[in-house]
């Protein structure tokens, strides 16, 4: 079995897995990083989103062979201590209910704010519509993004 090399949250990792193994399962089962979630396995819900060389990807449909050599950032890599502005905003605004979709929601919010630190509601809608939540936390996600955006505009790193 070939060994794939990836950097995950700044750490060099190797995975001895088949080429078609989705990155999601490499993260969860091979590397033990269970923060990234499975909800549909077909790229429709966003629970599995992770950064691959800075771009947000659906890891459930991204084979490891396509991620060879990439720099991956998962929910676990945002901060050591929940101090990332989006994480802080999620706590301030009490965003998650069950929490399952929020690794994806948070990274999607991070992605949006990295591109646009002052998003309008319409821009938030567009960025977030592919991230499903069953518990109905969308209103608080919107609030959380606005709260985090303020911090980012005040100079906090996203």
């Amino acid at each position: 079995m070939p060994a794939y090399s990836i950097t995950v949250n700044g750490k060099q990792c190797t995975a001895d897995v088949d080429a078609d193994t989705p990155l999601l399962w490499v993260l969860r089962d091979t590397l033990g990083l269970t923060g990234t979630k499975y909800s549909c396995g077909v790229g429709e819900c966003g629970s599995c989103a992770v950064f691959v060389d800075g771009a947000l990807e659906r890891s459930c449909i991204l084979p490891i062979s396509a991620a060879e050599g990439a720099d991956i950032q998962t929910i676990e890599g945002l901060s050591e201590d929940r101090s990332h502005p989006v994480q802080k905003a999620w706590i301030t605004e009490q965003v998650p209910q069950c929490g399952w979709c929020h690794s994806g929601q948070i990274l999607a919010a991070v992605d949006l704010l990295r591109r646009n630190p002052d998003p309008s509601d319409g821009e938030i809608d567009e960025a977030m519509s592919g991230y499903l939540c069953r518990c109905g936390t969308y209103q608080r996600v919107r609030k959380g993004i606005h709260t985090a955006a303020k911090e980012v505009r005040d100079g906090e790193r996203v």
Binding site: V17, I91, G99, C133, R134, G136, Y138, Q139
Partner: protein, 706 residues
């Protein structure tokens, strides 16, 4: 009335895995019909432990699935025990006997309201014993001391002792019969704003849900059940499957076939490669079309009369004028985002199960049945659920995991992929509603009739000839004072598997009730809000209040621009009263946009107000998702929906602005999890009518056809 007792340390250690010393109290929740004989030893259920090093442990009896009960319950402990909430370690209790724990099932909107008394009493009793311990130590009256944040203070001298220093002495004292609970003004946490205790671990990926759980050496199994309802497994060809690296074996288990592997992907891939031979069984011709025809036929049969009030049957037999409508609610799926999963390790004489569940005790029974090992040797460890909504009230997957662990001789995590969950759900039952209103010669309203023809989850034969009152929730025994009322029931079952979907039968019956009230109002030329208030006059002022509050907030009665309308609906269920007033826009292509929802809820009073808000906001989203786009259909005996492309759930851009108004209705505490669901669909239907003149009588609404 809850009875508090000390827990013997040996008993405490028997049911928990935490080492404890010092004072441990629990409370006995009397089961209905139970009486305590004089001198009878109580078995406490809810454990609050104060250890000699000052460590406080709260064993929470109810699973956390995002509904916030973990937080609401620990607030009660922190306040009554008089400690800082951050100093309490919360441990989810292992599944235990009903005589000890009462019901551990998180459902029916009961967690806060059923534990308010016993849990608060236990914590208050512990506090009083600790104060008494200090008073004894100092040789003073208990009245001269007070508990303050984990310490007892002697008021005049300022001397203090920590709970840790007092606990072993306190443990030897008698338990107060009638502990004094705090006054509202003394609450530090209850009734106030408090952050959820589990949110921090849910923003950094560290929270352990069922699917995240790991034990060394565990295998991963992907399961498949017969795609045709009622089908069975004939056999399989695993030639290609066994070639997938990581696949260990393919096994038949009690309900289908499983591919067992070293990791999840191998199991998924192996299942894809498996060539399975299914016997379709007796229901291969089942179709949604056929089910609909069955409901229509059964709707013409003689029903069971549930209510015949104020001469209704005579009135309907001879009414000169009437209006009628047929409403329809489809089968729907819970589809929580965390897929169905369970981890089990069956050893020779003991079993450990780790599972995201709403019902630990159901899992316990199922594990015992499946393994044949006595329940005293079975530990059910309840983990966080990634959503539930009623999905995780049953425990088929516990049987799956225990069965497969036993077969392979080691720990295994079983998992149903998204398609499997959608195809094999325990759906909300389908229902057809035949409504009629009768009027006299002058057009005065004389009668209300609602015939519920529904698939009944309880398939009991008794419902052929008796009303299923649970299945009539939201249709019968309502507070509305109908001029006369004929409520009828007809059971119409299909082979589909059904279960409790958040708010159960209220979610479909209330749609018909609250939408048809508007049809009657229209016929009478009456305002729908006014008509409801009149029907409730002298019957339930609290429902009137939630209606008026929601109506005021939405600006009821203002003139609306073209294509926009307001709608209102209410419910009283699960001890919560709630009204939604909505503003809806129907676009030129018929797309329904809900712009704003004003929700007024009277939950008695709110122990955890933000928890109430979360439940109402979340309930609106879930109910709107169902109203707009969800439907489970069947063709050739197979459920047609698989992933979110076939079963679309509400997306971010579809979510309205939701404003929650909490009304303090006083004691007793009511429920909040389910009341937000039933009135949402009818409020939207009513608003669409106001905007377009089109009645929406079938869920899912889809687009409005003008």
């Amino acid at each position: 009335m809850a009875s508090v007792s000390k827990v013997d340390r040996r008993d405490f250690l028997k049911v928990t895995t935490a080492a404890a010393g010092g004072l441990v109290v629990g409370a006995h929740l009397p089961l209905p019909g139970e009486e305590l004989a004089a001198g009878e030893t109580l078995e406490p259920n809810v454990f609050v432990a104060v250890e000699p090093d000052g460590h406080i442990i709260f064993h929470t009896p109810r699973p956390e699935m995002g509904q916030g009960s973990r937080t609401g319950l620990v607030m009660i402990v922190a306040d009554e025990l008089e400690v800082d909430i951050d100093d309490i370690e919360i441990v989810m209790a292992l599944a235990g006997p009903r005589e000890v724990w009462g019901s551990m099932t998180a459902g029916g909107s009961t967690s806060i309201r059923l534990f308010w008394e016993p849990l608060g009493d236990a914590a208050a009793a512990a506090r009083e014993m600790l104060v008494r311990a200090a008073a004894d130590r100092w040789g003073v009256e208990t009245g001269a001391c007070s508990a303050r944040r984990g310490k007892v203070v002697h008021t005049s001298s300022g001397r203090s002792l920590t709970y840790g220093e007092l606990t072993e002495y306190a443990a030897a004292l008698p338990v107060p019969e009638d502990p004094t609970r705090k006054q509202t003004r003394e609450f530090r946490y209850i009734g106030g704003e408090k952050d959820r205790v589990d949110i921090p671990e849910k923003v950094d990926g560290s929270a352990v849900f069922g699917l995240d759980f790991r034990v060394p050496g565990m295998k991963f199994a992907v399961l498949k059940r017969p795609p045709v309802i009622g089908g069975s497994l004939r056999g399989w060809d695993d030639t290609e499957t066994m070639k997938v690296p990581g696949v260990r074996q393919v096994v038949e288990f009690h309900a289908g076939v499983a591919v067992v592997a070293d990791h999840t992907w191998a199991a998924l891939k192996g299942m894809d490669e498996l060539k399975i031979d299914w016997d379709p069984g007796p229901h291969a011709d089942l179709s949604s079309e056929g089910i609909e025809r069955q409901l229509e036929r059964d709707g013409r049969e003689e029903p069971v009369v549930a209510e015949d009030l104020r001469g209704a049957s005579e009135i309907f037999a001879s009414a000169p004028k009437r209006i009628s409508a047929v409403y329809h609610a489809p089968y729907i799926s819970h589809s929580p985002l965390e897929p169905i999963n369970c981890t089990a390790h069956v050893k020779e004489n003991e079993v450990d199960v780790w599972v995201p569940t709403q019902a630990p005790q159901t899992c316990w029974s199922v594990a015992e049945e499946t393994s044949g090992i006595p329940r005293e040797d079975i530990r059910i460890h309840t983990l966080y659920s990634g959503g539930a909504f009623g999905r995780r009230l049953t425990a088929e997957w516990v049987a799956d995991a225990v069965d497969i662990s036993r077969i392979i001789g080691g720990p295994v995590q079983i998992f149903w992929d998204r398609a499997e969950d959608t195809m094999h759900g325990n759906y909300r039952p389908i229902s057809r509603h035949q409504l009629e209103a009768a009027f006299d010669e002058e057009g005065k309203w004389t009668g209300w009739r609602h015939r519920v023809i529904a698939h009944s989850t309880s398939r009991s034969e008794r419902y052929e000839t008796n009303p299923n009152w649970s299945a009539l929730a939201g249709a019968a025994r309502l507070e509305y004072w109908w001029p006369s009322a004929l409520i009828e029931w007809k059971m119409s079952n299909t082979p589909l598997n059904t279960g409790a979907w958040r708010s159960v039968y209220e979610s479909q019956n209330r749609f018909a009730t609250e939408a048809f009230i508007d049809e009657v109002a229209h016929e009478l030329g009456r305002d729908p809000l006014d008509l409801r208030l009149e029907l409730l006059e002298g019957r339930d002022a609290r429902i009137q209040t939630v209606l008026e509050t929601a109506a005021k907030a939405i600006g009821w009665g203002r003139s609306m621009p073209e294509g926009r309308g307001l709608g209102i609906a209410c419910t009283h269920c699960f001890r919560g009263r709630l009204a939604h007033a909505v503003e809806v826009e129907v676009e030129s292509d018929g797309t329904i946009r809900v712009h704003r929802v004003e929700s007024a809820i009277d939950p008695g009073w709110a122990v955890y107000p933000d928890g109430v808000r979360q439940q109402v906001e979340g309930g609106v989203a879930l109910a709107l998702s169902v109203a707009l786009g969800e439907e489970i259909t069947v063709q050739d005996g197979v459920v047609q929906q698989r992933t979110f492309s076939e079963y679309p759930i509400l997306t971010f851009d579809q979510h309205p602005e939701v404003n929650v108004h909490i009304i303090d209705g006083g004691e007793p505490i009511g429920g909040v999890g389910e009341p937000p669901i039933p009135p949402l669909a009818p409020a939207v239907a009513n608003a669409v009518f106001a905007a377009t003149g089109v009645r929406l009588r079938r869920m899912p609404f889809g687009k409005v056809e003008r």
